[in-house]
Amino acid sequence: MALLSREKQTLFLLIVGLLSWLVPGAGHFVLKEKERAIIIFATIVLTFCVGIYIGSIGVINLFGATPWYVVGAQVMNSPMVLFLGRMTADGAYPVYGWPNEIGQIYTSTAGLLNLLCIVNAIYLAYLRGIEPTRG
């Protein structure tokens, strides 16, 4: 890999991070880590789907009484969560008690795991950018 200029590398890191957020695993896919990308995509999407299966899409309550840190973690899954949040903003999908709590735990954990993958993809991209300068 040719040594990238600082601006190009910064832009590449931003693109990798953004892709990882848009579609879980996409950042690793761009870096030709296909196995990792498939594992990450399947696991995060499945965890998120289990969360909204248990608690319904009502657990995505961006404009309600849900704590900010839960909303922040849920949004880290993908921008699609913002779309779901607009759907549930009028309170059409009420959910209370354990299904709400377990659903929020699943969806926010999926988001935090995706945040870990975003950071990992950016780090891998950074390492590949500086590889030629080593040794």
């Binding site: 990792r36 009502g58 299904p99 735990i105 993958c117």
Partner: protein
């Protein structure tokens, strides 16, 4: 849109009906599996099916054992305090 698709989408618009029962604790297992899989997917230098499954299983087991130890410790504390 077919009826099957409608039914699948409908399952995501109504919450499941369960309460705080001992069996509800089993919902932690898929979550622990997800955490173990993602952690190992980001940490292993190369992904080989057998090695990946072995490493993930070890981490999954470690987390579960730790949770059981923590639960037993808390249970003993509660038993000592409440008599």
């Amino acid at each position: 849109m077919s009826m099957e698709t409608v039914f699948v989408i409908a399952t995501f618009t109504t919450p499941e009906n369960f309460g705080p029962k001992p069996l509800s604790m089993l919902w932690l297992l898929p979550l622990v599996a997800a955490i173990a899989i993602i952690y190992k997917a980001t940490k292993l230098p190369s992904i080989k099916a057998a090695n990946f499954m072995k490493e993930t299983s070890i981490l999954f087991g470690s987390i579960i054992v730790f949770i059981i130890i923590a639960a037993l410790t808390l249970h003993v504390f509660a038993w000592l305090i409440t008599g």
